[in-house]
Amino acid sequence: MRPLDPRLLRHARAARGYVALTASLGIVTAGLVVAQALLLAHALGRAVHDGADLSAIAPWVAWLAAVVGARTLVTALQERFAHRAATRAVAELREGVVAHAASLGPRWLATGQGPGVATLATRGLDALEPYFVRYLPQLVLAATVTPATLLVILGLDWVSAAVLVVVLPLVPLFMWLVGRLTQGRSERGLDAMRRLGAQTLDLLAGLPTLRAFGRERGPAARVQALGDAHRRATMGTLRIAFLSGLVLELLTTLSVALVAVGIGLRLVHGGLDLVTGLAVLVLAPEVFNSLRQVGAQFHAASDGVAAAAAAFAVLETPLPADGTRPCPDLARTTVRLRGVSVTSATGRTPDDLDLDVRPGEVVALAGPTGSGKSTAVEVALGLLAPDEGTVELVGPAGTTPLADVVRADYWSQVAWLPQRPVLEPGAVRDVVGGADDAARSAAAALTGLGEVLDAAPAGWDTAVEQLSVGQRQRVALTRALLSAAPWVVLDEPTAHLDAAGERVVLDTVRALRTGGRTVLLVAHRASLLACADRVVALEPSEQPVGIAP
């Protein structure tokens, strides 16, 4: 784990100012820690050794009070801005990751590291908060206070400094050694922990099912047994994980004790004066303090650092290049797929697909589940680059590869209804669009949305969020009818609909055809296929066959 990844500063602007602030406050803190120790040692030393009264040490005490006030202020400032910076940096990374992942397209999101992005963006990156708020400040203090105090001790009493300098490198060395020795064991332990935890959750998640079968009573003992096994496995891991903490505390506390004893013995022999001795005694724990905190916060922080690294990996995935040429008018352009293949985990789907969608035509893509119908649609929409083959726009002005066209320009001429309709929240009236109420009512009568709205008390003002999936599909169909887009893509529009709903879809497709729109239809029901001008059947790993209507 890299303690401070420079990429963090590059991708999260909010982190830059915060790191600068933390670094300056760290330097100030180092000065204040040293000042506090020296002032306290002088005041106390004079009083103990020389019997000085309060008025004699008053200046020291006054300065000490000032230093205490300053440290209070610095601590509060650090905390004030830590949360703020953490929230903003997490937000920046989240927005960046979501925007970038969305641009990488649906296929990337569905495979490899894609599915993890949702967890990363919603919960994972929150782990950066302890990193910013707790770990980073202590890391900075370890870099400022530790050397500053050590140098001052060296100036005051080289013997004590020598003891500390010998111990200091032992801290990381022993932590590393303990880590190495225990790594294998604790990984096995963690693995067992995860497995047992998953089994317990599996039983609990299956409770409704067990209950349905009347077999819910037995597993209570199993939940208890799994819990006990989980605890034993966890304790086995912790026994080892806590060893590094033990070593850290032993080394640091024992070295402070040794320094104290050393000072005491040299004071007896007059080799040292009391003020120096007290200063070293107060400073010695400060050498290790921030190091110990870094160690204590390490685990909390490492989750955040891992999340940040995952975020950088997404942000640094190159985006597919957008085209530069304007899109020709799709009302006069044929979309042509030639030899298109997409390789996925289940094979080549589609495999060597040829498809022409001419202006004003209704073309249906048919084929069994898994033959690549939806993938073919994604390729035709320019959301996915085919592994083999070409997609071209063939118009009166010539042929343009789809890859060269500005995607947003192309999409502005397309209305796409995916299997599950994606609608923005809002009143149905606003979501469907359309020129006026008359046009809306006419379209709604055709798609069956009219019936739905007649039954709803709010009518056209009904919120889309309140509708069922089938009803939302009718909203989406109405919107497609009302849109001006020359190209309409319908992916399985009859899923979620019964026979009556299906008639509605047929009527909609006919209306679209009458309106001169081009329709690409993904369908498996015969009634829908029958209303297409042409059906292109996809077979898994076989040549697609063109069928005349």
């Binding site: 005041a43 009083a47 103990v48 927005e95 004071l267 609909l497 015969a526």
Partner: protein, 591 residues
């Protein structure tokens, strides 16, 4: 959400008091070593500066070293004991949750989404357990150590003891209260923004393609940024209190040292305090605040855990107390109606499920099915059809006794369904979202009945047209299925659940949409097998496929929550225009 919430949840952990006391004792000793180390070191150095014979210091030099070792070792033991206490508590809480959920109101499980349930019994129980390790035990250690340190200090020099006590209260009470208030304010104001940010982010990622094509990606990203800005503003609202808390913690240490110095030095001048004791009184506070320094974080943890505790308790409260089977032969409870014809539980073999004028619906909402009569007994099969949203699934859940009925009567073998011990398993509801356990195919089928043989399992899988699928599995019936059946397709999963239902001994099966996700041929074969091959039991099937229903003894067509038509397939074809049309439509499509 009140203070009592967390206390109730923590009480459910049934923390072992002896072990908890042990953890507090070890923690107090560990941090006590640090305080003692500071005090003895101060004494050692101050005394040494008076150049006494070396021998007078020997006890102190040994003690300093011993405290140096003791701190680390004791702290290690304390961490182990406190984690053990918490883990035991979490297991107890999970077992309690499981037991109460398995024996309480069945509707409690139906109203919680699956993912939500997993969060509550997974992360939320962990969070409540965390309160013990990070909240309760550290607070107890700080309290005990604080009292001991103040007492020792007061013995040496009472004014310094009083000053230390006040400063410890600042750091150990005021700072945590401020920190909790700050975190609470942020949490409260940020909750809505966080939820919106999560929903926005998931929406954009789930529908990246459609949003891009519709040109709405930028608007959605702007909504995400706006939600994030609200969260940032909420953080700023809580930050001053958090900053004050951190400052107070730092200030308390300084004040304790200053107070000891200012009161102690005149006392030395006037001879009431020895010079060596002054060093002890002034330097000890530097180490005395370690226990309180973790308390602000502890208070924030308590704040966070409270929300988790509330979610767990809501689940428990919904489940209610364990339901006692009121009609068991040994339970002559007064709640059993005296005119109940037979108080013994239904004998599964001749069970008949009878509904009269049944009304079903979700609690607190109007009924979605009204006035339904139904009679199903072994050997009889009934199909329920109707457009989506006509209440078919609600009806099945009510027939299964999982949802309290809103009116009418419902009995099994002449005994009111409410009075029958559900563990008797007379009625089995094969839910569409049934759970596939992360174990082998055979073990998943054995959930129905512990003694299912491999041959019976194969036969059941054959009934649901999964023979080909089984043959493709690497280890046959012993093939492990991923957690929650993620390795299965929708259709395979649905049929596996159905096969499990077929293997159960329940005399009445209620099956929800067995044909979904299947091609027409397979769908009809599965429905037909279900309706015909199990004449030893009663079957109620909810389905949208009509073709295979000639095999059903009765078909009920629901529309708008009422029975629009009923009779045999042939009778409905003859009398019901809509049924005829729908079937014709279906056959046209399949052609």
């Amino acid at each position: 959400m009140t203070r009592g919430t967390l206390r109730r949840a923590v009480a459910l952990l049934e923390v072992d008091r002896r072990r908890a006391a042990q953890a507090v004792a070890l923690g107090t000793l560990a941090l006590g070593c640090a305080v003692a180390l500071a005090a003895v070191a101060a004494w050692l150095i101050a005394r040494a500066s008076q150049m006494p014979p070396v021998l007078t210091l020997s006890v102190a030099t040994v003690a300093v070293r011993a405290f140096g070792i003791g701190r680390g070792v004791l702290r290690y033991c304390e961490r182990l004991v406190s984690h053990d206490v918490a883990l035991r508590g979490m297991t107890t809480l999970r077992t309690t949750l499981y037991t109460r959920m398995s024996q309480g109101q069945p509707a409690a499980l139906l109203t919680v989404r699956r993912g939500d349930l997993l969060t509550r019994i997974g992360a939320d129980v962990d969070t409540v357990g965390d309160v013990v390790v990070r909240g309760v035990l550290p607070a107890a250690v700080a309290a005990v150590l604080g009292v001991l340190t103040v007492g020792a200090m007061a013995l040496i020099f009472p004014p310094a003891g009083i000053a230390l006590a006040l400063c410890l209260l600042l750091a150990g009470v005021l700072a945590p209260v401020l920190a909790a208030a700050g975190a609470g304010r942020t949490q409260e104001r940020a909750a809505e923004g966080r939820a919106r940010a999560t929903a926005s982010a998931l929406g954009i990622l789930d529908d990246a393609g459609p949003l891009a094509v519709a040109g709405r990606t930028h608007a959605e990203l702007a909504a995400l940024a706006a939600a994030d800005r609200d969260v940032a503003a909420a953080t700023d609202a809580g930050a001053p209190a958090s900053a004050l808390a951190a400052g107070v913690g730092q200030l308390a240490t300084g004040l304790a040292v200053l107070a000891a110095l200012v009161t102690g030095v005149p006392a030395v001048t006037s001879g009431r305090l020895s010079a060596v004791a002054l060093a002890v009184v002034v330097l000890t506070p530097l180490a005395a605040f370690e226990a309180t320094s973790v308390l602000p974080a502890a208070a924030v943890q308590v704040q966070r855990s409270r929300a988790a505790a509330a979610r767990i308790l809501a689940l428990l409260d919904a489940a209610g107390p364990a339901l006692e089977p009121a009609a068991g032969p040994t339970h002559g409870s007064p709640s059993t109606a005296p005119d109940a014809p037979d108080a013994s539980p239904a004998r599964p073999q001749d069970a008949a499920l009878v509904a009269r004028d049944l009304q079903c619906g979700w609690p607190g909402r109007p009924p979605v099915v009204r006035g339904l009569d139904l009679h199903v007994e072994p050997g009889r099969s009934i199909a329920v059809v109707g457009p989506s949203g006509s209440g078919k699934t609600t009806l099945l859940v009510t027939l299964a006794g999982l949802l309290p009925r809103q009116g009418g009567s419902l009995s099994i073998d002449s005994t009111d369904l409410d009075l029958v011990d559900r563990a008797g398993g007379a009625v089995l509801h094969v839910a569409e979202d049934g759970h596939v356990f992360g174990t082998s195919i055979l073990e998943n089928l054995r959930v129905a009945r512990g003694d299912v043989t491999p041959d019976q399992a194969r036969a059941a899988l054959g009934d649901v047209a999964l023979t080909g699928w089984l043959a493709a599995q690497p280890d046959g019936l012993d093939t492990l299925l991923g957690p929650d059946g993620r390795t299965l397709s929708g259709g395979e999963r649905r049929r596996l659940l159905l096969a499990r239902g077929l293997l159960s001994p329940a005399p009445v099966l209620l099956v929800d949409e067995p044909a979904e996700h299947l091609d027409p041929g397979t769908a009809d074969a599965v429905v037909r097998a279900l309706l015909t091959r199990h004449r030893d039991r009663g079957v109620v099937v909810v389905t949208h496929r009509l073709t295979a229903l000639d095999a059903a003894d009765e078909v009920i067509r629901l529309e708008g929550g009422r029975v629009a038509a009923r009779g045999t397939h042939a009778a409905l074809l003859a009398s019901d225009r809509r049924y005829r049309e729908d079937l014709a439509e279906e056959s046209r499509e399949d052609a």
